[in-house]
């Protein structure tokens, strides 16, 4: 008997993935130049040269049985030490290699962490709009995702979150710099959230965990600072991925970081490892673990993303689109020009524009634009955005 829940998950693909697949067929039909695929956060900015240099060097110099062999399930201890050093130096935070769990990207980290700190029937809060897979991962634990709408500027609404917390609340997931809005939560928001979680943990007599999903940490513009969440709230697990910072999303490498200041840090860490084991993760890819150890603090050319943001933000604003000006990540969250964002996204396809309708992000009426594309494609797409805006101006 097939598992009905999994059948649905596999049959109804994520809107983002579906649009990505549609884009591939559209390219075959119309040619590469006529498709402006803003669907997927798949960086078109090349990885830093160092990525391929390190890989080539590892392949050349490292013993192949070590390089391609199993590491400990938690990851290679030297790799984890390098990452702990980086966290200590960069964020002034406590970090312990034995509390870092190397994972196949942030999705694997989130799945393992949720599997550890959430039990059946509990709930997990997240500010909405939110990354749609959160719902999938939370429901896989038999738990319930509770989206809480952000303020109009897409910063978390602390009062609304306070009201949403109840005795079933196991954890809160935040994601800053944010997908899909590009907003970076300032210090005062993190501090307020930390205060709230401390109070509520006391009130309900249990730890409410803060899960900080940070694949976009390095992707910020104009010198904006991203607060390191464990410095504000000790019961934090950071889920990190090198997908975006190093432009290697297909390689699947990241980690879960448990703050050494956390109550029962060791037990929480081992529980995360246990959950990863039950999910079928044996170890994070060994070759890629060794790669990222050499690339701490390095990132792709963020200048390109900044240029893309500036180009799109100024052009789209001129054409009459409304959006928050993002400080980080590589997304614009643009108000749909008609009430139904799905209809708007369908209309955009005519012009070769692939925009993700926001319904699955828990915040209808917008489209997400992933601007991690080549500046050239972005320039060429502007006319399509203008025509789309004009179509809707005329029909309104």
């Amino acid at each position: 008997m097939l598992n009905e829940k999994m059948r649905k998950l596999g049959t109804k693909r994520s809107t983002i993935r579906e649009l990505f697949e549609y884009g591939k067929s559209l390219r075959r039909e119309r040619g590469d130049d006529a498709v402006f695929d803003y669907s997927l956060g798949n960086p078109s900015v090349a990885p830093p040269k160092k990525v391929d240099e390190v890989l080539t060097k590892l392949i050349k110099d490292c013993s192949p049985t070590l390089l391609h062999g199993y590491t400990s399930a938690e990851g290679d201890i030297e790799v984890r030490s390098r990452i702990a050093d980086y966290i200590r130096t960069s964020f002034g935070a406590n970090a312990d290699p034995s509390l870092i769990y190397m994972t196949a990207g942030a999705a694997a980290a989130l799945s393992a962490v949720l599997g550890a700190v959430v039990t059946e029937g509990e709930s997990v809060i997240t500010p909405a709009p939110y990354f749609p897979e959160y719902k999938v991962f939370v429901e896989a634990c038999g738990a319930n995702l509770v989206p809480v709408l952000t303020r109009a500027d897409f910063r978390p609404d602390i009062d609304a979150i306070a009201k949403a917390i109840d005795k079933t609340t196991a954890a809160i997931i935040i994601n800053s710099p944010n997908n899909p809005t590009g907003v970076v939560y300032p210090k005062e928001d993190i501090a307020a959230l930390a205060g709230l979680l401390k109070d509520k943990s006391e009130e309900f007599g249990k730890t409410i965990y803060l899960i900080s999903d940070e694949p976009y940490r390095e992707l910020v513009y104009d010198g904006i600072e991203v607060p390191f969440v464990p410095n504000f709230y000790k019961n934090t697990v950071v889920c990190y991925s090198y997908s975006k910072s190093l432009s290697i999303p297909g390689d699947r490498i990241g980690y879960a970081f448990v703050s050494p200041d956390m109550a029962d840090a060791d037990t929480v860490f081992r529980t995360i490892c246990g959950a990863g084991r039950a999910l079928g993760y044996v170890c994070a890819p060994s070759l890629l673990q060794r790669l990222v150890a050499e690339c701490c603090g390095i990132s792709s050319d963020i200048g390109i993303y900044k240029k893309n943001r500036d180009t799109l933000y100024s052009a789209l604003t001129e054409y009459g689109y409304e959006m928050a000006r993002p400080d980080g990540a590589f997304y614009l969250f643009v108000r749909s020009l008609c009430p139904d964002a799905k209809e708007f996204s369908l209309a955009a396809r005519k012009y070769g524009l692939l925009l993700v309708p926001s319904d699955d992000f828990g915040c209808p009426g917008y489209v997400r634009i992933a601007y991690c594309q080549s500046p050239d494609m972005i320039e060429r797409s502007l006319i399509a955005f203008r025509m789309l805006a004009e179509e809707f101006k005329n029909t309104l």
Copy 2:
């Protein structure tokens, strides 16, 4: 509230992994030469040269954004086509690229397949001794693993399996060449099992799936043939890994193959993809997908494993140990020299020998010897095996 089941899984590590970690500390203490680590199926035989050649070439010639970018969740279609071609040509079986799901190794494949074809409260049968993680993966689905002891020669006991099948049976997992016994199931066993599953599926009015876990497919000696299971039973999913054939277990790459002859093959396939999604698998590592597409049908130097098997089998038999002579994989399953295999394994540590007690394999009274080690280590370990045998001869 921490998930208690996951805490246990993370705290009580698999016996194999625990022994592997112990081995690392023992090496630091006594030196590399004094430890004979037979715990982990971590090939010490180097990957074929082609592995590093292909990787270097991919890094040099391939567009980095393609090479390190997301593939479709199911895997790159060209990679899947190459694998389908290989299956068609090598096994004379039907194969369809759109029914091949690239995974992070066989463990990920098994987890996704079980998540798809098993629902809560059902059960999964496997011949015992069996690979201990089967229990973890099956229980993660809220299902129950039902081990059925093999015959004395470690071939499946079809009559006993027939008796064990009931209305809760969702699937049977087989593993040939077998971990931990090294036995290869002959055609007549697969045919008998296929007949049984066909009858029982009819009797219970539902499909009982056959999950064929085949990481050791290429590791067979003396020209022994490994039957391709879907040619015998159409409702088969093959879980394959390149870990052992290419000696790249740390890289985590493999696939799940759904037979196109299966009833509702497309739906089963999509359900497997849905389960993979819920487990946090975004796509199998892109770089490694492209690697294995170039390495179909290639394997490490099996001659070394055969030599190891012959050396160990003849020496250990001479020292008075009892075991089945294995035709494949790289394991010897040796009868413990005292009733409690754990006690025996502890005694072996004195001589630097790390042998896995068989209790977790669902068949007490044996130890597993993973002989995927350097022939040099194996030669040097013989004296330790002899001393161990003598210690027990003297106490009996």
